[in-house]
């Protein structure tokens, strides 16, 4: 009993006896064989297997994605022992086939004896039996002869189908290369003589004729046989590194018509190796060095250096652009001297015409000057309130924003005021030691904040605040 094996990838998924035919195949649940395919490359009613002329034939039921064998889409395929048909991601193979047509025996109905052992035979004389036997022998020989003719005819049909398929592949290859006349003369017309109603061939013929009306016929190239054209097509696919199992099957199909074709055999071995070890696309050939093309500064370009390569120039342009973007971003968050310095450096290293660097620089200068003045105002206000340390801190911040600020005189004045405040706190502490001793520690702490360690009172305060 033949068994249908259903693979998904390399995994055997289902296995069923081909006892009841026809066997419907598809994604729909009503099929005898349900192929679940989330991406819906299998149609609801995709195909069916019938027994025709003693062979299992897989026939397309008008599916969208069809049946594929050896890289070709076929409306139907008769299973051979090595035939693998693809439906979507599934591969179908029939196990238990013998080479050649399957013999289908018709069982004798129960209750019916053979003609040679029945009553009819018993009524015949031995002479009659010899005559009848001879006649039956003649009928048997004739039947065998007819059967032989039928088998030969089937084989011829199969060979013809394979040759047609090879012609189609070769013709497509030639058409893709623009060899329209050759495709028509060498492959399409000869194949059409054998299979005049083949839709693919008719379509290719139409394409070739259209092509011929547009392109003048080139000088006649050496004739290319369908097999050679098919092999050329395979070579081209392999050169692009697109070798897969389908490609191998395509070579196998070529070998079906020319089993001893050395090129095909070599390609098959190469393709199998290629499937195991996919060929990586080779690295692109190194490009010839290109000299830098100047980009105007207003568009973010720089002056190219003598003999500078475009790659290096682009690199410099990119780095400068990054510097510019960073400076502008920082300036948008509040300018200080470092941002102005950065923009000045860009204007110097590129040119003042570089993008909007000049406008940004002017804005940053204005902004940082305003910021510095604001901080300076705060410092002066704190000094007026007698918050000397806070005031000095603000003066320092203002100077950090704008190092050109002249704050030394103010700072000296504040430091002097701070010292005077410290000495006053010290004096007050001495007075209150007698009159209000509880207030003295706070005063001494002020002394430590306001005076420097070299002051005598600072040391006295330190001593007084140190726990005994």
């Amino acid at each position: 009993m033949a068994r249908l094996l259903v693979f998904r990838g390399e995994t055997l998924g289902q296995e069923l006896d081909l006892a009841q035919l026809p066997l419907t195949i598809g994604r729909g649940p009503a099929n005898d064989l349900v192929l679940e395919d989330p991406v819906k490359s299998v149609s609801r009613e995709h195909a069916e297997i019938r027994l025709e002329g003693g062979r299992y034939v897989l026939t397309d039921r008008g599916s969208e994605n069809g049946i594929w064998v050896a890289g070709r889409r076929l409306p139907s395929v008769a299973f051979e022992p090595d035939t693998v048909a693809s439906i979507g991601p599934f591969r179908l193979k029939i196990e238990g086939l013998t080479a050649g047509p399957t013999q289908v025996s018709t069982p004798v109905p129960p209750g019916r004896a053979s003609w040679a052992t029945g009553a009819f035979a018993r009524r015949l004389t031995p002479q009659h039996k010899r005559v009848v036997g001879g006649a039956l022998a003649l009928v048997a020989v004739g039947t065998l002869a007819v059967a032989g003719v039928v088998v030969r005819s089937a084989r011829e049909r199969e060979r013809a189908a394979n040759e047609t398929a090879a012609s189609i592949v070769a013709a497509r290859f030639q058409l893709d290369r623009g060899s329209c006349a050759e495709a028509l003369a060498q492959n399409i017309q000869p194949a059409l003589t054998k299979d005049p109603n083949n839709k693919d061939l008719l379509s290719l013929k139409q394409r070739a004729e259209g092509c011929l009306t547009l392109v003048p016929p080139p000088p006649a190239p050496p004739p290319v046989s369908p097999v050679e054209a098919a092999l050329a097509s395979v070579r081209e696919v392999m050169a692009q590194g697109q070798c897969d199992e389908a490609l191998v099957q395509q070579i196998v199909a070529i070998l079906t018509s020319e089993p001893d074709n050395a090129d095909a055999l070599a390609l098959k071995a190469e393709a199998q190796k290629c499937v195991i070890t996919p060929v990586r696309p080779s690295a692109p050939a190194p490009k010839a060095p290109v000299l830098a093309q100047r980009i105007p500064p207003k568009d973010g370009g720089l002056e190219p250096l003598p003999g500078e390569l475009d790659r290096d120039y682009q690199n410099r342009v990119g780095i400068m652009r990054q510097r510019y973007e960073e400076a502008v971003t920082a300036a948008s968050k509040g300018a200080d001297r470092s941002i102005v310095d950065a923009l000045e450096a860009i204007a110097r290293d590129a040119t003042p015409q570089y993008l909007n660097v000049s406008a940004n620089l002017a804005a940053a200068r204005r902004s940082f000057a305003e910021t510095a003045q604001r901080i300076l105002g705060e410092a002066q206000e704190l000094a007026r309130k007698g918050q000397w340390n806070e005031s000095l801190q603000k003066y320092s911040e203002a100077k950090e924003v704008d190092p050109s600020l002249s704050i030394d005189a103010d700072v000296r004045k504040i430091q002097d005021s701070k010292k005077q405040a410290g000495l006053a706190a010290c004096r007050s502490a001495r007075q209150k030691l007698t009159y209000a001793p509880k207030e003295v520690p706070d005063l001494y702490r002020q002394v430590l904040e306001l005076l420097t360690p070299d002051e005598e009172c600072y040391q006295a305060a330190q001593r007084a605040l140190t726990p005994k």
């Binding site: 004096r427 001495r430 007075q431 209150k432 030691l433 007698t434 009159y435 001793p437």
Partner: protein, 195 residues
């Protein structure tokens, strides 16, 4: 020529005397009396200061911080005046710079604390003839009408001396101001490093 030199010398001497007299008389609350014979140097058991007190006033011993009292002798228990000399130990010696408005305020606060019936407290820092001191005045209800209190606080090393002068307010300016001014101007603490 000689007469010119003599004239110049006289001018210088006169100007110096005038300057001295001016400084001595610059503050009505701290200057020597025009009648110094009315005062005598007090005979004290301590050598920490010297002072001239009115001759006809009675000196009485003090107690604790009060060193002595000088009380005017009167007839028929008439309203009278007195001068009290106190001393207070300082936790830290005060320099001349430490005698400032803040110390004056502290002294006034201390006086207010010691004499809760006092009112119209005023305080100043004065420096007269090389002596820097705190001057506090206030008034209070006395035995016979309002009294005025005039207080001199004179620090010296670790000690603060207070001269507390009390007189009827009605007679203060006319009679007692000059007495108090002379006593204060005659008060001479022994220099701190010498004691």
């Amino acid at each position: 020529m000689t007469s010119r030199v003599v004239a110049m010398s006289l001018l210088v001497v006169l100007s110096l005397v005038g300057a001295h007299a001016q400084s001595d008389n610059s503050d009505p609350w701290f200057r020597r009396s025009a009648r110094p014979k009315d005062f005598a140097v007090a005979r004290l058991p301590w050598n920490t200061f010297s002072v001239e007190l009115p001759k006809d006033w009675q000196v009485a011993p003090g107690y604790r911080g009060i060193l002595l009292s000088s009380v005017e002798n009167t007839r028929n228990n008439q309203p009278t005046s007195s001068i009290v000399i106190e001393q207070m130990k300082l936790e830290a010696p005060l320099t001349s710079e430490d005698i400032d408005g803040e110390l004056a305020k502290l002294e006034a606060d201390q006086a207010r604390l010691n004499d809760p019936s006092g009112q119209d407290f005023q305080h100043h820092v004065k420096e007269v003839a090389g002596t820097r001191f705190v001057f506090v005045t206030y008034s209070r209800r006395g035995l016979n009408g309002m009294d005025s209190v005039v207080q001199y606080a004179i620090p010296n090393g670790n000690v603060l001396y207070r001269l507390v002068c009390i007189a009827p307010t009605a007679q203060l300016a006319q009679r007692y101001q000059a007495i108090f001014a002379h006593v204060a101007a005659s008060f001479k603490p022994t220099p701190a490093n010498a004691s």
